[in-house]
């Protein structure tokens, strides 16, 4: 099949980018979207031109590295990651517009690659469970209700790709942050640091310059992993509960 491409090209963070058109005449319908871009890059290298930079890693839909705003939607027209999107989804002769994620907190580094380290910093602020060293605990030592485990697992399915931020008109990261908060808040292992976690993660999220949620639901609709808005409500509950009831333990016990 023939495919026309309009791709955002930008040299680096500081230069202004623009769209450039390309044409591919022999695209197989069975190619993944990223394989199609590999073919394009091969052509460009042969012609001595600069190849198109884009993020990718596992190409199995679980690492969260691939991004791309394809024809007006993050990860393209299907509820999947870009690496799991196939060219059969598109029509022969179709023009596909490819843009990077757009958000102030996700600056474009080059072409279609954006800097998503803001997510890493949010995770580092509190998206973990502190485990003291010692023997390996038995896997089923703490009983967890199946439904709770399932709910936590659904939240944990978030791969941190940033499609929620890309889709949101406010560039809000709340679906991501709430999934990370929920995943640990639901489980007994996450309870000791529960209040501190949500306070720190929300503070970091604001620090990074993400927007506020207006409950449009665009993130939920575009999330390749089906993370639901329920997580955001849970994060709100966690946050309001934490900030109004948490207290800091003073080292040495104070007076």
């Amino acid at each position: 099949m023939k495919i026309n491409l309009k791709i955002w090209r930008q040299k680096n963070k500081d230069t202004k980018g623009s769209f450039k058109s390309y044409q591919l005449d022999h695209v197989s319908a069975d190619m993944s979207f990223l394989e199609m871009l590999d073919v394009l890059n091969n052509d460009l290298i042969h012609k001595g031109e600069e190849s198109v930079a884009f993020d990718h890693d596992c190409r199995e839909g679980i690492c969260g590295m691939c991004s791309l705003y394809i024809n007006g939607r993050p990860h393209g027209p299907q509820q999947t990651t870009t690496c799991q999107l196939h060219m059969r989804t598109f029509k022969d002769g179709e023009t596909i517009v490819i843009e990077p994620w757009r958000a102030k907190a996700f600056p474009v580094i080059r072409d279609l690659v954006v800097d998503r380290t803001a997510f890493d910093r949010i995770q580092q602020a509190g998206g973990y469970v502190s485990v003291n060293t010692g023997g390996v605990p038995d896997a089923n030592e703490i009983p967890i209700a199946k439904k709770v485990a399932d709910e936590a697992f659904d939240s944990a399915a978030c791969i941190g790709c940033g499609a929620c931020v890309a889709a949101c008109k406010n560039a809000s990261a709340m679906l991501f942050v709430s999934a990370k908060v929920s995943q640990l808040a639901l489980l007994p292992q996450g309870k000791p640091e529960r209040k501190e976690r949500v306070e720190k993660m929300v503070a970091q999220m604001d620090e990074e310059g993400f927007g506020a949620c207006t409950n449009t639901g665009a993130c939920e609709a575009e999330c390749p992993k089906g993370i639901s808005l329920t997580n955001i409500a849970r994060m709100n509950r966690e946050y309001f509960g934490a900030i109004t009831t948490s207290y800091e333990v003073k080292v040495g016990g104070g007076d």
Binding site: R73, K104, A171, F210, A212, C213, T214, T216, A233, R234
Partner: protein, 230 residues
């Protein structure tokens, strides 16, 4: 009090204020509507005038009204703050192609709210200002002298454009509530599979019933001018 300022300045806290003030204003709409429905009585405005007098003179209502003005202001100011913050977060470069996967009302709360604000200014000038500081005729009920706000309302709704403005504004209010009602619950974290369907249903029913009843008053009074403007 550091935690308190953190709460109010965080994105979540600002949304919390939007939700709480929004819910208060929803309650206010109910009270306002119940009062206004007395205009539909064909009693030459007796019930409505007595009610209007009570609402402007009772000390407790007075306190509530000042709370109400404050809440309207907070709702507007925080909306402006959030909108400008969200615009900045979106960044300078927009998408060339963008397909929407969300409801129209949810994306346009700011525009809907701005139109409601313009309506509010006209509405307050027309009735609230007149009632407080305008030269309104008075009427005597059982020896008590009461301002005849009913006459002002009847004269206003006798004008086609005035009545039409109110009907259109109520339509806009309906759209604002369509998203706002359920959205405030989500922001407060009140989201549970057991209650979500009820919240959604009540929210949508409210967004239809309340504006329709409000709009019914100018429509009814415009169509029945022979009764209202004797």
């Amino acid at each position: 009090m550091n935690w308190f300022t953190n709460l109010l300045t965080s994105t979540l806290g600002r949304k919390l204020l939007m939700a709480l003030t929004g819910l208060f204003l929803i309650l206010f709409l109910v009270v306002h509507l119940i009062g206004n429905l007395q205009l539909l009585k064909h009693d030459d405005g007796h019930a409505f005038n007595v009610y209007a007098q009570f609402m402007t003179s009772n000390p407790l209502i007075k306190i509530v009204s000042y709370v109400n003005y404050t809440i309207i202001l907070v709702h507007i100011l925080w909306a402006i703050m959030l909108t400008s913050h969200n615009r900045k977060a979106r960044g300078s470069e927009g998408y060339a192609v963008s397909k929407n996967s969300s409801a129209w009302t949810s994306r346009n709360m700011g525009i809907l709210g701005s139109i409601i604000f313009i309506f509010l200014v006209i509405h307050l000038k027309g009735f609230w200002y007149e009632m407080h500081w305008g030269g309104i005729q008075t009427v005597d009920y059982e020896g008590k002298t009461v301002k005849n706000l009913y006459l002002v309302v009847a004269a206003a709704y006798a004008q086609f454009w005035y009545a039409a403005l109110y009907v259109v504004s109520m339509l806009i209010l309906g759209f604002h509530l369509w998203h706002g009602f359920a959205s405030s619950f989500q922001t407060l974290g009140l989201n549970h599979p057991k209650y979500n369907p009820i919240i959604r249903f009540v929210g949508r029913a409210f967004a239809i019933v309340v504006p329709v009843l409000f709009a019914l008053i100018p429509i009814w009074m415009y169509l029945n001018q022979d009764i209202y403007n004797k």
